[in-house]
């Protein structure tokens, strides 16, 4: 992999990690309403996949959507502004953390319904196929979502129509408190691909280079018109399911084990230095830039005006 790509992957991962850290502190300061779901620990997936996407490619995201949004090149200020319920937020404070979209960059939106984005990405891929473009759609979803009917119906439709879509299952080992090893009677979720007649690939979702390589193949296949792929990325979420999750269903050992044995961000750092793609000094510089950028974004967001009063029906209907 070339230096610039490697450094870019690191930048995106590090930005996501920092964003989650900052939003967590903001939440702790009671500046954020509702719930937030941290993507910390899963950064390599969004970064590795979206590196292959253009602004006119589409993604559908989840309740754990900050990482996908950032990897699809969203504006951090507008993201924070949305979390803070500002008019300057992506959704003018109407959506919040679980409902951030950035259609200008092809992010069709986070989704509060587990599995809700899977058919939507399928439909975006149908648009590309219908219009004869080489656009691609990627649907991000969790291990839990893979047991939803929408997963089944969508993968079958994409397979029979050979749609340019990649289904990326982020297996962070848990659906809220339910461990994947109990929610599935199979170890390898990617086995399900065979039942739809599409390629199934399993990769270490903590290893950004591995994700990048596997996603490159899948997205290339879709772009060439060779149909969908089911890509399962094995990973782990460092934080609770939501801010404040008591995590009764996990042991300290398990959590620490995952964090210390293979932290996607630290491993990316090590790999970059090891392979001479960048120096520690360069990476430190990136870290500083990101931290500064983050503070500027928070400041900008906090300075923004509160969400404007609702306009009914104008906010809801395009015409009424």
């Amino acid at each position: 992999m070339d230096t610039s790509t490697a450094m870019e992957l690191y930048r995106v991962m590090r930005t996501i990690r920092r964003f989650e850290h900052r939003s967590t502190t903001l939440f702790g300061e009671n500046k954020i309403w509702g719930t937030i779901h941290s993507y910390a620990g899963e950064e390599a997936i969004a970064a590795g996949v979206c590196e292959h996407l253009r602004d006119d490619d589409w993604i559908t995201s989840t309740h754990r959507g900050h990482g996908h949004c950032i990897a699809k090149r969203a504006d951090l200020g507008k993201m924070f502004a949305e979390l803070l319920g500002r008019e300057t937020g992506y959704c003018r404070g109407r959506g919040g953390s679980m409902h951030i979209a950035d259609t200008s960059k092809g992010n069709l939106g986070a989704n509060g319904i587990v599995g809700g984005g899977i058919p939507i990405a399928t439909g975006a891929a149908l648009t590309a196929k219908h219009l004869g473009t080489d656009q691609v759609a990627v649907s991000f979803f969790g291990d839990g979502a893979a047991n939803q009917g929408t997963f089944h119906e969508s993968l079958n439709i994409a397979a029979i129509w050979k749609l340019p879509v990649v289904y990326v299952c982020e297996n962070n080992q848990y659906a809220e408190s339910f461990p994947a090893k109990k929610a599935f009677a199979i170890d390898d979720i990617s086995q399900r691909a065979a039942g739809y007649g599409m390629p199934g690939v399993r990769v270490d979702g903590r290893d950004v280079a591995a994700v990048h390589a596997a996603a490159g193949e899948a997205i290339g296949r879709a772009r060439r018109g060779d149909g969908p792929t089911f890509l399962v990325c094995e990973s782990y979420r460092h934080e609770g399911h939501y801010y404040g999750d008591p995590r009764k269903y996990q042991t300290k050992e398990e959590i620490e084990g995952w964090k210390t044995t293979f932290d996607p961000l630290l491993e990316a750092r090590a790999w970059i230095v090891r392979d001479g793609l960048g120096t520690a000094a360069q990476l430190d510089a990136v870290d500083r830039e990101i931290d500064d950028e983050m503070e500027r974004a928070v400041a900008w967001a906090e300075a923004g005006p509160p969400a404007s009063a609702l306009r009914i029906p104008e906010d809801i209907y395009a015409s009424y």
Binding site: H99, G109, G116, I120, A128, L131, T150, E153, W161, S319
Partner: protein, 343 residues
């Protein structure tokens, strides 16, 4: 061309003069064909819509004319097909998704309500979902409890949806064309026993704006507010009532959301009597909305309480005599109208 209320809510009906007699199903097919010819972004998704031409033959002939890339026959995957249509609508197409029976909407409800209807609002107006979900409901064919429900009330209760229910072939064509050109998600609800009804339909472009009720018959003694197949029953009832000198006005809502309050209230204030008739079961039905509205806004203009005549609170039975007994028939409307007028 039907008389229209020409109320403030929306532009007038657009249509050239030429008409010919068509079946309701044919008129719907005509709208689909013309809109597909007009706009390459319009595609149709659904079950059995291709070679078979749709369970009620509405899409008959479209496969031959537009091919499988625009007449997309789907597996039996209601939430998958509706969700795929939502995604296509979000990204530039104008899909018409067919749910063969409204009874199956329980399988696709999440994509209709949480995804399509709420998208524009949730994302701060970034996107539009120009999607039409064509479906049909109603009893009368012996299809029993899982193929005969009238569920429009569910959709009227969802912020972000529009709900349309044409009663005539002309309205079917005009409203479907308007729904396809509409930038919001429209639940377009047909009635299985209207497909084979006939009427004069404009052959050229014909658009009936959403949100405009239609006075299908005027009269000064009472207002019958109704929609879908019950409009035909109400018109028959009005005929009978006329014979004993009662002049009933029949207001066909056509569009439940947006609702043409002006036409309803103007009519009720004039006739001072309001009978709301629908096929769906009464409890929790949209008739409650209309009767409450009339009570709230025209209370002092009424000479009698607003009255609802609707389906009995039961699933639709199979046996024909039973089936006929659970939804309002012409005689029931006549009787209710007489009672309302203290007769």
């Amino acid at each position: 061309m039907p008389r229209t209320s020409g109320n403030a809510l929306s532009a007038d009906v657009i249509s050239d003069g030429e008409t010919r007699e068509m079946f309701y199903a044919e008129a719907l097919g005509d709208a689909l064909r013309m809109e597909m010819q007009r706009d390459p972004r319009v595609i149709v998704l659904g079950e059995d819509i291709a070679e078979h031409g749709g369970a009620f033959q509405v899409t008959a002939g479209l496969l031959a004319e537009f091919g499988p890339s625009r007449i997309r026959q789907t597996p039996i995957s209601e939430i998958g097909l509706v969700g795929t249509a939502v995604g296509a609508a979000l990204t530039g197409l104008r899909p018409v998704a067919e749910l063969m029976y409204i009874d199956f909407s329980g399988l696709a409800m999440d994509q209709i309500v949480n995804q399509a209807a709420q998208n524009r609002f949730m994302f701060g107006g970034q996107a539009r979902v120009p999607l039409v979900v064509r479906t049909q409901g109603g009893s009368g064919r012996g299809n029993a409890a899982q193929h005969s429900k009238s569920l429009e009330a569910w959709f009227t209760h969802v912020a972000g949806l529009k709900v349309v229910m044409p009663s005539t072939p002309a309205d079917a064509k005009g409203l479907l064309a308007a729904a396809i050109r509409d930038d919001d998600t429209v639940m377009f609800i047909e009635h299985k026993l209207l497909y084979r009804t006939k009427g004069q339909v404009p052959t050229g472009e014909h658009l009936v704006p959403l949100g405009m009720a239609d006075i299908k018959r005027s009269g000064d003694d009472l207002t019958i507010v109704t929609w879908s197949r019950e409009v035909l029953f109400a018109l028959e009832a009005a005929q009978t009532l006329a014979e004993d000198g009662i002049a009933a006005e029949v207001v066909d809502l056509r569009s439940l959301v947006p609702l043409d309050k002006d036409t309803i209230l103007a009519s009720v204030r004039r006739t001072r009597h309001c009978l709301v008739v629908h096929e769906a079961i009464k409890r929790g039905g949209y008739g409650g909305e209309i009767a409450a509205l009339v009570a709230e806004e025209a209370f002092d203009d009424l000479d009698a309480p607003p009255r609802r005549l609707a389906g009995l609170e039961t699933p639709i039975p199979y046996a024909q005599p039973l089936e006929l007994g659970v939804v309002p028939q012409v005689a029931d409307i006549v009787k209710a109208a007489r009672e309302l007028l203290g007769g």
